[in-house]
């Protein structure tokens, strides 16, 4: 079968900030060539590592973000490296890079230069804050970007520090937004023949990772606060995360007709097991208006629900919720996720061969299921410079002797 992006060539110069962009394009069938410095891409030094042995060919972080890519090494700080890169640009559709602003200009490889070699080129630049503006030269790591984006302030317990998700979400948001933006620019190129440069900001991408804080301020003049395991609903707060026998579940109560069946039945279930307080026994949730409910009611309700939920396992609560239309879901850990029946039934997980490690590793599978051009099956991330011969010799027509010279000259 065809791939969406057959015969599309991407030169990927990014580090962790942008690696997901090329991976998504690769998932869609583009030929993504990751251009690494001879010492290897910095993301190779990021953990976790396979069997906890830190080594540039064992980074699981690197593995995950570089499937379906080919790797060449190239020293862009050498004249020979610049020359070879320019050769590669002539046949490329995309260059994606995440160097600091102006870095590519200093190398003499900015869009103005590259577009003269290849007017159809789409060049995507990923930076923490954008290529200009008061923060342009500021440093932005994930925790900094997520804090500036607005999600951190509202995540966590009210009395404790704001928290982030312990995987660099800002890099993944930005990488996936960069893939979207790059494709849009490529569409224009396909229609008109005109390439262009695309700028993607991590700070702006991170702000798209929440719908809440900017809106509460501009619509209601209020700064939303952290609420821990509770959520503000109307004028009061409602508990949404509950400990159960083997972990936690999330439950969202609603009012009105839609709520009646599941929530009323849940109360009956509690009652059947002798765990429903008298006041709650005949309560009809269809009459509940969550926007005007008192805090006292939610507090009493929480106590009653928490006592019952603590006696059940997340699996049995979820099964019940599915059958009775209750907004309840298990708080899955990674093991639960791997065993999730839905993901199994859809054959989501895929085993990727890592011949050099003598093993295969299970990865998240295709991000969507397409009828005509399935998302490409993952092939393990490349070793450093694994495709030097293939590309320099096979495509650029360099001889073996040339390669020996370039290697010794520190160019590749």
């Amino acid at each position: 079968m065809d791939n969406l992006l057959d015969s599309v060539r991407v030169l990927d110069l990014t580090d962790e900030k942008g690696l997901l962009c090329g991976r998504i394009l690769g998932d869609m069938g583009a030929d993504v060539v990751i251009v690494e410095p001879p010492s290897g891409n910095s993301a190779r030094r990021r953990g976790p590592f396979y069997q906890d042995i830190p080594h540039h060919e064992r980074s699981l972080f690197w593995f995950f973000l570089n499937t379906n890519k080919r790797s060449i090494t190239l020293n862009l700080k050498s004249a020979g490296g610049i020359e070879l890169f320019k050769e590669l640009v002539k046949t490329a559709d995309f260059v994606i890079q995440s160097f600091p602003p102006q870095y590519m200009s200093k190398l003499g490889l900015d869009y103005d230069v590259l577009s003269k070699l290849n007017p159809k080129l789409v060049m995507t630049s990923i930076t923490p804050f954008g290529i200009d503006g008061p923060y342009a030269n500021y440093k932005g790591t994930d925790i900094v970007i997520m804090g500036l984006g607005g999600l951190s302030y509202i995540s966590g317990e009210p009395t404790r520090e704001p928290i982030r998700i312990p995987v660099p979400q800002s890099c993944f948001h930005t990488g996936s937004w960069a893939a979207a933006a790059s494709m849009i620019a490529f569409y224009h190129q396909q229609m008109t023949g005109e390439g262009q440069s695309v700028e993607v900001s991590m700070q702006q991408s991170a702000t798209w990772a929440t719908y809440a804080t900017q809106e509460w301020w501009s619509y209601a003049g209020m700064n939303l606060k952290r609420e821990g395991t509770w959520r503000q609903i109307g004028t009061a707060r409602m508990q949404i995360l509950f400990p159960c026998k083997d972990g936690h579940v999330m439950m969202f109560l609603i009012g009105g007709a839609a709520a009646a069946s599941g929530q009323n039945l849940f109360i009956k279930w509690m009652d059947a097991e002798g765990m429903c307080p008298d006041w709650l026994r005949d309560f009809d949730f269809s009459e509940l208006d969550v926007s005007t409910t008192s805090q006292d009611f939610f507090d009493r309700l929480s106590d009653a629900l928490a006592g019952f939920i603590a006696t059940k396992k997340k699996g049995e609560l979820f099964d019940w919720a599915l059958q009775n239309t209750l907004f309840l879901a298990p708080v899955n850990n990674i093991r639960d996720l791997l065993e999730n029946p839905q993901l199994k039934a859809r054959n989501f997980w895929i085993d990727v061969e890592h011949t050099e490690l003598g093993t295969s590793i299970t990865y998240p599978g295709p991000f969507a299921v397409l009828t005509e051009t399935p998302i490409k099956k993952q092939k393990r991330a490349p070793l450093i410079g694994e495709h030097n011969m293939e590309i320099y010799q096979g495509e650029l027509g360099l001889s073996r002797d040339d390669l020996v010279v370039l290697k010794q000259g520190g160019v590749i």
Binding site: D142, T213, N332
Partner: protein
């Protein structure tokens, strides 16, 4: 001369609700596509009826979240259970390049708008269905929102403090993870269609895309057997690394010191107090070993400063640092102002409100959010006249039939 928009000429019809589907159409609209958002007055979108509302006054056209995800669209109300309504829908399907729907599995089929059926009307259509769990499978019938899908995808279990239960990121997190990928795959499908003449159907599960944002933790489990858990803000390769309390009420900053050079710079900024010379903090390894104590000492300094001061002092010497932004801070952020991230647009009912611009910019086809989100049924007439080419009589008849509800 007015510069072109990159997706000019592209046509999108969406039968979407809540966040993921609408966000996809929103961004495509920002980039120049003509997007028609179909809804019904009989069962308003959840995001039209939840807080926050403009000035605290509840109203179907006043809800912030709906507005955020539906700018740059024409809005139409259509009753798909009405025979005239479904006829209009078929005409829109004939007109469109892309059809996006985000209903529970099976809903569009009930209206004869599943892929097999719409393909009859428009053979090369590109259709996207996005929902929590995907179209098929034992949990496809799961009814819920992104907030539950996020818990199921594993985000809550790993987000929180090491000494207490899961807290999770705020909100329907899988909702904000998926749209970007879907925009990419739709546009790629359009390019493929141009090359091959073939449309296609895209079945998307928000749970599945969600797992990709935890990829490295998943590989750590599948290859090392390690079950990730909560670590607050810690990062293996950096110390200090965290969110620190500052001067003011519930004010916070972040600081990330990633190497020894940055550590020296950090120490200079805070005035080289004696504790920074202590051997417990002399190297990254030492700082990691004594991180609780380190964090306490760092905070004793940040408490004397506003987050803005900390950010500015640290960034001047090359240490990554930022304020932890509130909603108000986002609107006052100097970099956002420079980028024009928030753009005021005049909404038909609630007046001027800010809309987020896309997080990207194009050099030759600049695009930004241009048209505020529609009120319920705001463009019924425009769409019938200008897009479907109906006569006045036809339109009036349609209104009288009750199909536009």
């Amino acid at each position: 001369m007015k510069k072109p928009l990159p997706l000019e000429g592209l046509k999108i019809v969406e039968l979407t609700r809540v966040a993921v589907g609408p966000c996809v159409g929103r961004i495509l609209g920002d980039c120049g596509a003509t997007v028609i958002h179909i809804e019904t007055a009989r069962r308003p979108d959840t995001l039209r009826i939840i807080f926050p509302f403009k000035d605290g006054i509840a109203g179907i056209n006043r809800a912030a979240y709906f507005n955020k995800y539906n700018a740059d669209k024409y809005g139409m109300t259509l009753d798909l259970t009405h025979p005239q309504g479904i006829k209009v829908m078929h005409r829109l399907i004939e007109w469109t390049d892309v059809f996006i729907e985000s209903n529970a599995p099976g809903v569009v089929a009930k209206h004869g708008l599943d892929y097999e059926s719409v393909k009859e009307v428009k053979p090369d259509i590109i259709m996207l269905s996005t929902c929590q769990m995907g179209q098929k499978g034992p949990l496809a019938r799961f009814k819920g929102y992104g907030v539950q899908a996020a818990a199921m995808a594993g985000f809550h279990e790993v987000t929180g403090y090491p000494d207490s239960g899961p807290v999770g990121p705020f909100g329907s997190y899988t909702d904000v993870v998926s749209p970007q990928w879907l925009i990419a795959v739709i546009v790629a499908s359009l390019i493929y269609r141009q090359r091959s003449g073939k449309g296609q159907y895209i079945d998307h599960s928000q749970l599945e895309t969600g797992t990709h944002f935890l990829g490295p933790l998943i590989l750590d489990y599948t290859s090392n057997g390690r079950l990730a858990t909560r670590v607050s803000n810690r990062e293996e390769s950096a110390a200090p690394h965290g969110a620190y309390r500052c001067k003011g009420e519930d004010r916070w900053c972040t600081i990330a010191v990633c190497n020894d050079e940055q550590w020296d710079a950090f120490c200079r900024v805070i005035g080289n107090p004696p504790w920074t010379k202590d051997t417990s903090f002399s190297s990254l390894l030492q700082r990691k070993r004594n991180e609780d104590e380190l964090d306490r000492l760092v905070e004793s300094w940040t408490l004397k400063h506003t987050p803005e001061e900390v950010m500015s002092l640290m960034q001047q010497v090359g240490v990554a640092s930022g304020i932890i932004a509130t909603g108000e801070d986002l609107h006052n952020n100097p970099q956002f102002r420079h980028k024009g991230h928030f753009k005021l647009l005049n909404h038909s009912e609630i007046g001027e409100v800010p809309f987020d611009n896309p997080p990207f910019q194009f050099s030759k086809t600049p695009c930004e959010v241009r048209m505020a989100s529609p009120c319920l049924g705001e463009h019924n007439e425009y769409i019938c006249h200008h897009i479907l080419g109906m006569s006045d009589e036809e339109f009036v008849e349609l209104i009288q039939s009750g199909a536009l509800e």
